[in-house]
Structure formats: C-alpha cells, structure tokens
C-alpha cells in the first residue's frame, strides 16, 4: 500500500469522482441545507427557519395526503409486480416451445419510453375509449378511469404494472435457471407435482430474488412521477398526487425551494428504509468490500 499506488488508484477514480461530486454530493448536501430556509415570502431573500419547513409539511393535509397516496400506489403495484412476473417466469421456464418469442413480446413494454406508454393508456382510458367499450359490453356502467378520484390511482398503477412486468419476469427467469434440476427430481421422487413442486422447491430457492424484487419495486413505486405527470397531473382532486409530484410542483412551479427540499428529505428517509435493507441484506455480496 505505497503512496504511488494510492495516487494511481485515485487517478482512476477521479473522473467518476468529479461527476458524482458535482451532480450528486453537492446537490445532496444542498437539498438538506435548503430545507432549513423559507422562500415563501421572497425567492431572492431566503429566511432561515430551522425546522419550520418540516413542521409546515407535516401539518399540511395536502402533503400528508401525498404520502398516503404514494403508499397507496405502492400497495397497488408492488404485490402484483412481485407475484405475477414470478408466475410468468415459472411458466416460461417449463419445457415449452416459443420461449424466446414470449420473453421478447412480454419485455417490449419495458423498453418503450414511459411517456409513450402513458399516452397510449390515456387513449385506452378515454371516456369513450377501448376499455370502457369492454366494460359496457360486460354490462357495467362506464368507468371514469382518470376522472373518478376513487379510480384514478388504480388506473395509474395499472400503467406502472404494465411497464414493469417484463422487467421483473426477466430477473426471476435468470434466478430460476440457477435452481438445480436435481432438486425438482428429488421433489418428484417424494411425490410432489405441479403447483406443489414449485411451492416446495422453486419458491424457497429463489426467495432472495423475491425479496430483492419487493424492495426494488417498492423503491421505484416511491419515486413514481412520469405516469402521473402525463396522465393526471396529480388530479382529480389530488387523488393521484404523490410525493415526487408534490416536490416537483413546489420546486418548479411555485418556486418554493425550501418546502420542496424539506419534502425531498422526507422522501429520502422513506426510500432509505428500503434501500438500506436492499443493500445490507438482500444484495450483501454485491456491495461488500
């Protein structure tokens, strides 16, 4: 561990280090710093308010609603994104034909920009759109997919699910390939078939992957933004306003930098709960020195 070698190591780290410093570390500390100032009276004369912004946020019914909305969204998406792709992966992993075609077609929504996906769904969700045609065909009253405050968040979550299924399916598939065949054979000898075989062998073996998919999909659910921006702008009646959307509005529309930053710090804390679990439990091997 001589000096020359250390300098060499730092030369390798330098370019990435500069980018991370300028576009990550400085902004990170600035977010915390800004969260202690109020810009409400005058954008050019921020006023130091200690924890004022945090207190204001936690007292604000709208902000608390955005937290609840965000978790509601998470609960709508995450269980589905954890279970359904696993089910699909198990099906594709059977000895069947056309595997690759299925994989490719189911993966297509993942590569398409979320903006286009959201535009396509906005069209499906139109009052006289394709979805309502089927709803009426089944004998129900048309649904206000994006206009009914009770339904709008579910509609948004469907888009996120639509775009995410293929991605998580691929993660599961590569995990499934690592399940040793002998385990299945042993289970078959013990008389387990079909569904039971998977409950006994597959699920326990890829439990770490299931845990990983739960945390990754939770983290991305907490960060949801584009679907909402394109389809509902947080409405109707703030029913789809999530934390990131709230921060975005405060920062870039109301120029209330202090409140936006305090909101960001609160979001950061929530996300960190999930990512700490992820890094130090589920993906320990990848992230240990």
């Amino acid at each position: 561990m001589d000096l020359k070698k250390s300098i060499g190591a730092y030369l390798f780290l330098l370019p990435a280090g500069i980018v991370l410093l300028v576009f990550f570390f400085i902004p990170f500390f600035q977010t915390i710093y800004l969260s202690f100032f109020s810009y409400s009276n005058d954008v050019y004369k921020p006023e130091f308010v200690y924890l004022g912004n945090y207190i204001e946020l936690l007292k604000s019914p709208l902000f608390l609603k955005t937290i609840l909305n965000t978790f509601y969204f998470l609960i709508l998406c995450v269980p589905f994104l954890v279970i359904f792709p696993l089910f699909l992966a198990i099906l594709i992993n059977q000895k069947i034909k056309y595997k690759n075609i299925y994989k490719i077609l189911i993966y297509i929504p993942v590569v398409i920009s979320i903006v286009v996906v959201a535009i396509a769904f906005k069209w499906l969700y139109a009052p006289e759109g394709l979805l309502n045609f089927f709803v009426e065909k089944l004998g129900f009253a048309p649904i206000g997919w994006l206009s009914d405050p009770k339904v709008a968040m579910i509609s948004v979550a469907l888009v996120t699910i639509f775009k995410g299924v293929g991605y998580y399916m691929m993660i599961y598939l590569s995990a499934l390939m690592s399940v040793p065949n002998e385990l299945y054979e042993a289970a078959e000898v013990d008389g387990a078939v079909g569904f039971k075989k998977h409950m006994l062998v597959t699920i326990p073996h890829i439990m770490p992957m299931i845990a990983l998919v739960s945390t990754i999909s939770s983290i991305s659910a907490l960060k949801v933004f584009v679907e909402i921006y394109v389809m509902t702008k947080g409405g109707p009646l703030n029913s789809t306003k999530t934390i990131v959307y709230y921060i975005y509005e405060k920062a870039f529309e109301n120029l209330d930098l202090g409140i936006a930053s305090a909101g960001a710090v609160i979001l950061l804390f929530i996300v960190m709960i999930f990512s700490v679990i992820n890094i130090f439990v589920f993906e320990k091997d990848k992230y240990t020195l």
């Binding site: 070698k5 250390s6 280090g17 300028v22 576009f23 902004p27 535009i119 691929m170 590569s174 983290i219």
Partner: protein
Amino acid sequence: MKKIKLKNIFIHIILISVCILSLVPLLWLLSTALKGRSENIFAYPPIFIPRDFTLDNFKEVLKLVPIVKYVINSFIVAISTVFLNVILSALAAYPLARMNFKGKKIAFFSILATIMVPFQTIMLPVYIITLKLHLCDNYSDLMGYLGLIMPFAVNAFGIFLLRQAFLTIPKEIEESAVIDGCNSFQIFYKLLLPMIKPSLALLAIFTFIGSWGEFLWPSIILTNENLYTLPVGINNLSSAFSADYRLVAAGSIVSIIPIIIFFLALQKYFISGTTEGAVKG
C-alpha cells in the same frame, strides 16, 4: 404424456394472453394512427383494422413536429451518456476491485451511499448547479446537450456492475502482466477491459434504454425546442394536439420505432442479462 400435453396447451394460452395484453395498448395506438379523417376513431364498437387506411397522419405529424430532430437529439444524448458511463464506470470500478489503496473504504462507501439517494430528491439543486455551470440550452446547443448528459454521466449501479465483473477475473492473470512490466493503466486497458466485455455491453444497453426514455430531467432543463429529446417532444405533441389523437398516435409510433429496432437487434442481451443490470429504475 397426455397430461403433459394438456398442461402445455394451458401454459401457451396464458402466455399468449399476456403477450396480447402487453401489445394491445401499442397496437391500438398504431391502429388509431392509421385511420383516415373520414373514420371515427371513437367508433362503437371499436374498429381494429382501419377501414380508411392511410399514412397521412404520419406525413402530417412529421411536417408539423420535428420528430426526426427529436430522434437525432435522443441519439446524441443516449450515445454520449452510454460512452461516458462505460468509460467512467470502468475506470472507477477497476481500483475498487483490484487495488489496495489508502481510503478505499471511504471511496467504496461514498459511492455505495449514492445508490440510496434517488435523483428525484436532489433534482432541484442539480438544476441549480447545472444552470450555474451554464450547461443549458440558453448558452449554446453544445452546452444544452452537456446539461442533458452530465448529471447521468456515471452512477453507482454501473460502477458496481463492472466491479463485480473485475472481481471474477483471477488474480494470477494480473500478476503475470506485472512481471512482464505492465503498469496499472496498461493492465486495465489492454488486459482486464477486454475480459469484461459482456458486462460492458450490458451496461451500455441498459444505459441506452434508460437515457432514451428519460423524461423528468430533460423536461426540467430544456427550454429550446431544438434540443427536445423524444419523450419531451412527444409529451409536448400530446398536449399541443390533444384534440387530434390520430396525430398524437402517429407521433408516438414514430418515436418508438428506433428503440424497438434496437431492442430486437440486441434481444439476446436482454434475455440473458437482466439480473446484473437490475436495480436501476
């Protein structure tokens, strides 16, 4: 045997249904884009195969909106972002995997810490800093592109992905190169880098997809329509022509053609390698 056959048919039915579901929104968009003026796009019952089949919507949307320009911008931004990510991640990953140096722990955990902080929570100061550095389209096109690229020039996921790849190479290979008198840059560039090509390809592909679809940051930083990337341009199109869904649909279809080609050409990487590229989004 018969039981297995029946089971397989059942599996195919489920998988085909899921495939149809994942394509319907896009096919419906395509069908709408191909419908002519005389055809009611809200027809009841809905019509999937256009009766008044036409390509006019595509011609018109290409005339009204500089979609080709958006495609070029998206390419410039995505390719540059990929290029920087591959180089900077590889450079940073190498010492973290293969060298012992003072402060390695600090460097390692600082980079790890960045994984925990989503971009959305720091975007406001990133915006302020980017403007202060004049990396904005008000100054020049080049600065505008740099403003789109630089905040995403490297990230911890890429560094850790490549670090993992470097770790799998046996130490002996490096030792023999040291005996031959190679310095650490030569070892990195000539010996180790070619050995992690599959991981570099994976990083490149996932960075490309991510950059191509990125909406939040470009929509914040861009002011000049000349620099719009596809997602921003298409979103703009959808609000400007919300009354004419045929045009919005045609524009959206045009915008996804490049990425679909890219995906189909490189599908074997997607099918084999999602795990290591995981944990992005």
